[in-house]
Amino acid sequence: MTESVFFYLLSGLVLSSAWSVVRNENLFHAGLSLILCFVGVAGIYMNLDAPFLGAMQVLIYAGAIAVLLLFGFMLTHDLMKARHERNQHLAGILIPVLMALLLVGTILNAQWHASSGQPVNFGVASLARRYMQQDLVAFEMVALLLLASLMGAVVIARKEEGSRE
């Protein structure tokens, strides 16, 4: 019973912070509510008995990516005068509606196989074993992707460094 109470609480938190990310005038507040949203999602993971995933979510999203986002906010000049394009009303309404239809469609006609009752042991050890054995290829592909993005970041920084000197 407590799981469902926590679930509603957390999803309410996530939805409201997501809404404030979009609607907030002050960009810094938007960044903060984004972090709140990530922490809410992490809470939902924990609620579903996947603590490792929740901790990873907090560590990577809320702890690193969002802070780098704020880092970027703090460095750019005159943050508060961010330009608001008002002329994209049509796109603003059309795309969310399309997305909503798509999501609801998939949810309705997907066959949900009922869970088998006893809690599946989703500990870290089994996760690691899965990485190393069944989906090793996917693991290596992700590693390559990360390496490429790292190299890209270095190139961009190096170029910018060159222009300043």
Partner: protein
């Protein structure tokens, strides 16, 4: 305590016990911070050839010796700060300004859940113990950035920027240094870590000494203590991100800094020095009350030893320049932590395949360390000649 570790059972009772435990932790943190702040001032005084706070506290004690004077000094400071007015400068945006100290203290409290003070004596032994601590403590960066940005002054902004860069770049070596012992223990939970050290027969300090050093240095940087305290470097940034705070908010930052320091040292003690393993006593299977007390005592002794070293380092070293700090973090600590992972893997294999007991493992780890020292000699940093020819 067994009821707590069961983690299932009636929900309402569970929540109540959880709240009781949290209140216990909060009381423990407040108490330990008071003592820590007093101890820091005494240690600093001793290093600087002076006496430190003597006036407050029981008069009889003060005459006895330097170390027992001024016991209530921190309590007096806390009351003074409580009475001080909370000034919120006009142009700051209030929400993050107030949220920052609150966040930093809550983060610190939640991280204490998994610390095993004694044999079965931790609030709730999550099976993601170590990662939980690291994940939660990565949120402190957020509160410093919020404080820096919202107090709307150039100096705090610079402080916020610097601390974000420093904390992010020191989380990586911190986590990788912990990977060594996790690999040896085969699990993330803290109690499992301690039990594994009993099973190995020697502390994880020996197999991953390199890991311990990296963890210790990275944790000093993570807690923003000198010589890595560039975010609030007095001589340059006045007081960095804390310069606009006053009264209780400033006290919260101060309290959080010491609580974080104790947290980081207790994790180091648990993971590397065998948390509550009494050094030469065989561990009985069902924990008798006497053994639990002894375990808690040894845990506190080990943690306070590490805290003492942190205080000692604070008052002897000058401050590091930000780019040296980054360069140390990325170019030296990070690769060395990978090397440490290699050593631990080797030792784990030795343990499983050759069934070595405690002494065998420590011998193997010393051999591995000698190899590392050799490698470091090859990569020696060249020093200009002025430094070599002593005047």
């Amino acid at each position: 305590m067994d009821l707590v570790t069961a983690y299932t059972g009636q929900d309402v009772a569970l929540v109540l016990i959880m709240l009781l435990m949290l209140a216990l932790i909060l009381g423990f943190i407040a108490g330990s911070s008071l003592i820590l702040i007093w101890a820091e001032r005494k240690v600093a005084a001793r290093i600087q050839n002076r006496v430190g706070p003597m006036m407050t506290g029981p008069r009889k004690f003060a005459e006895f010796s330097m170390w027992t004077g001024g016991l209530l000094q921190t309590a007096a400071d806390a009351i003074k700060l409580l009475v001080k007015e909370l000034i919120i400068p006009s142009k700051t945006d209030a929400i993050p300004f107030i949220a920052a100290p609150v966040l930093i203290v809550t983060v610190c409290v939640t991280a204490y859940i998994v610390i095993p003070f004694g044999p079965a004596f931790s609030v709730s032994d999550l099976n993601i113990g170590v990662v939980h601590v690291v994940a939660i403590s990565s949120l402190t960066v957020l509160s410093i950035v919020m404080a820096g940005w919202s107090s709307n002054s150039k100096y705090s902004l610079l402080g916020g920027l610097r601390s974000a860069a420093q904390m992010l770049s020191y989380e990586i070596p911190l986590i990788f240094a912990l990977l060594g012992p996790i690999l040896l223990a085969g699990g993330l939970s803290m109690q499992k870590m301690v039990l594994a050290q009993r099973e190995y027969g020697c502390w994880f300090l020996l197999p991953s000494l390199l890991g311990f050093l990296i963890y210790y240095v990275a944790s000093i940087a993570e807690v923003n203590r000198p010589p890595f305290d560039i975010p609030e470097a007095e001589s340059e940034l006045v007081a960095g991100y804390v310069s606009e705070y006053s009264g209780m908010m400033f006290a919260m930052f101060f309290l959080a800094e010491f609580a974080n320091m104790f947290l980081v040292c207790s994790v180091a003690a648990t993971v590397f020095l065998g948390g509550w393993l009494v050094p030469f006593m065989p561990v009985p299977d069902n924990p008798t009350p006497v053994y639990i007390l002894l375990g808690i005592l040894t845990f506190f002794l080990k943690t306070s030893f590490l805290v003492f070293i942190m205080m000692w380092i604070r008052w002897t070293f000058p401050r590091v320049r930000p780019d040296h700090l980054m360069n140390l973090g990325w170019k030296y600590l990070f690769p060395l932590s990978l090397l440490n992972l290699l050593i631990c893997a080797g030792i784990a294999v030795l343990k499983d395949v050759y069934k070595l007991n405690g002494w065998g493992i420590s011998l193997a780890s010393l051999g591995a360390l000698a190899m590392v020292m050799l490698l470091l000699q090859v990569v020696r940093i060249p020093r200009p000649d002025t430094f070599l020819e002593k005047a």
